[in-house]
């Protein structure tokens, strides 16, 4: 507080000004604008009419939205069940003081997450192809009973997306787990070991409680990230604007994007977006409350 006498009251605003100008024009204002639009119906780019909660009412009975919600929930569940254990497993493998080449392996596992989604989509569209693709060919090579013409992209849309996302994300979350594991006090593990705790017991009763805060953050990141799945299906099924065969790739955000940019109904698109925001905020609040209850 004594510092306030040494500098002018305008100084912090001078430093904030560039950020705030951009933030105000391209994040804050669009957020306010989209909230207004959620209660309007847009006919083309110019004409809008206030329709109150009509968008929200329509949303409840929109079969496409519910298809999208179903797909998104399936993807999110698979992401939680696959990405988190794989990421934690890789981190546990790497978290050994005597391991040689830890930085090399960390680099290898992390490398897919710096590949842009447009490039991942191109790569996986080739890799998931029927006979020539790497995935069917490898599976057929390992298990001769595997059908080399397994129709990943045509019939198994969600497994294709889940697989691609697992490749991208496992190493990304692994890095967070590894950082957390390295902060687990060695004395605690030693003490448990002296008390006769086995490897599994030490993991369950010492390591897991210690990395719980990071596990909670990663759960939040995986769920909110998966719920916003868009780029990957949009690019992989670009010929159908991201819907995929029989709308099997349609996610909530893809539907939002299609409604806003393809059909031009910005009002309805905003209503979808704000409903999604409420769901995500609700999840974050519930998860935080549960985490607090656990800790106390």
């Amino acid at each position: 507080m004594k510092s306030s006498r040494l500098h002018s009251p305008w100084t912090p605003w001078l430093f904030l000004a560039p950020f705030l100008l951009s933030f105000g024009a391209f994040i804050a204002w669009p957020a306010v604008r989209s909230l207004m639009l959620a209660f309007e119906q847009t006919y083309g780019p110019k004409t809008t009419a206030f329709v109150g909660t009509a968008n929200l009412q329509f949303l409840v009975h929109d079969p496409f939205l519910w298809t999208a919600v179903g797909n998104t929930v399936v993807f999110t569940l698979a992401a939680v069940v696959l990405q988190i254990p794989v990421a934690l497993g890789l981190a546990l493998l790497l978290n050994r003081s005597d391991l040689r080449g830890r930085r090399f392996f960390r680099l290898v596992f992390f490398s897919p997450s710096i590949v842009g989604l447009a490039f991942v989509a191109i790569l996986f569209s080739f890799m998931l192809e029927k006979r020539t693709g790497l995935i069917n060919a490898s599976l057929h090579h390992l298990f001769p009973a595997w059908n080399p013409d397994f129709p990943w992209l045509d019939r198994y849309v969600m497994p294709s997306l889940i697989l691609a996302q697992l490749w991208i994300s496992a190493g990304f979350y692994m890095v967070y787990f590894l950082a957390a594991l390295q902060n687990v006090p060695g004395e605690l593990l030693d003490a448990a070991h002296i008390d006769g705790a086995g490897a599994w017991q030490r993991f369950w009763h010492v390591t897991l409680p210690e990395i719980r805060p990071v596990l909670n953050i990663i759960l939040l990141l995986v769920v909110t990230g998966s719920f916003q799945l868009f780029d990957l299906p949009y690019l992989l099924y670009n010929d159908t604007a991201g819907s995929g065969p029989d709308n099997h790739a349609l996610t909530v955000v893809t539907y939002l994007f299609q409604t806003g940019f393809r059909s031009g109904d910005l009002g309805y698109a905003s209503a979808i977006g704000w409903m999604l925001t409420l769901v995500l905020v609700g999840f974050a609040l519930i998860q935080r409350r549960l985490a607090r209850a656990e800790e106390s």
């Binding site: 391209f26 842009g116 447009a118 490039f119 490898s138 060695g186 030490r202 916003q228 905003s270 977006g273």
Partner: protein
């Protein structure tokens, strides 16, 4: 710390760990290897071999079937050099601006007390919950009114104020810029702008390099924003350009794989150079230490 006979957590045997790591590592890297081979093979070999084409050369590989002709084609016949320059320009200018804006903003929020600071911080950080797609159309509308559609400023201006970046720099300022130094500099009559550039920025250098590369890679990889904001083909960066190439030359697997490879290679190289900074920057928000 640990006694010689001490066995740490989950240690069946060292060999099993290495075998598992090597197996998972191979699975992770196979797509890259497959892509590299595909980029150098002929169309014919793409259909008949998964990695290198079999033949009579060393190790039973038809080395003479491999060539860099698709890379030559990308750079001689197709607008890929231009797209690459566009990407370099967008990602480097954008990441520099975003880093500077976030550093300055984070400094103000962390090191000054002023009315409304808590509210402003909460509002800015609260926007990270908004789905990016929700803001796309209203943002496009604003850019349209400002005549910035199909202009690089239409990408730069929205990209320079990421809430996540502000959060990282605010944390870095709290952790590594001591108040006493700022106070004594002020008592010595040092100007505020000079304090920021000569004292504050050097103290948070690790976060600057970390955020520069985080922002660079994010901008390099962004597909949706340039696809929406830029309309002229000659302005498009690599993700859009290569994706369109895939639409035009769908059957030329080797060409598309070569294009993908040259688009990934620069950020991979950067990442190899700066992986420690990159990862510590990413995890600094979530994990202390």
């Amino acid at each position: 710390m640990s006694t010689p006979d001490h066995r740490p957590l989950l240690r069946p045997s060292t060999l099993v760990i290495y075998v598992l790591l090597a197996g998972f590592g191979l699975i992770t890297l196979l797509p890259f290897l497959w892509m590299i081979c595909a980029a150098m093979k002929t169309q014919q070999d793409f259909y008949t071999s998964q990695f290198l084409p079999p033949g009579n050369g060393l190790f039973g590989v038809a080395w003479d079937h491999l060539s860099l002709s698709q890379f030559v084609r990308l750079f001689r016949e197709l607008p890929v050099p231009r797209a690459m320059l566009n990407s370099v320009f967008l990602a480097s200018v954008g990441s520099l601006l975003a880093t500077f804006f976030c550093a300055a903003g984070g400094y103000a929020l962390a090191k000054f007390k002023f009315p409304g600071r808590e509210l402003l911080t909460t509002l800015i950080l609260g926007t990270v919950v908004l789905p990016g797609a929700l803001l796309l159309s209203p943002r496009f509308e604003t850019l349209y009114h400002l005549h910035l559609v199909d202009h690089y400023l239409g990408i730069f201006l929205p990209a320079v104020a990421p809430a996540f970046g502000l959060y990282l720099f605010r944390q870095a300022m709290v952790n590594s810029v001591p108040n006493d130094i700022l106070e004594s500099a002020r008592i010595d009559g040092c100007g505020e702008v000079r304090i920021f550039f000569t004292i504050v920025l050097p103290l948070i250098r690790p976060m600057i390099s970390a955020y520069l590369i985080i922002a660079f890679i994010a901008l390099w990889n962004d597909f949706i924003t340039p696809q929406i904001i830029l309309q002229s083909p000659e302005l498009q960066p690599l993700p859009v350009a290569i994706f369109e190439l895939k639409g035009l030359y769908a059957a030329d697997y080797n060409l598309i794989m070569a294009g993908t490879l040259v688009s990934i290679a620069p950020v991979m190289f950067l990442f190899l150079l700066l992986q420690r900074e990159f990862i510590s920057g990413l995890t600094s928000g979530a994990v202390k230490g």
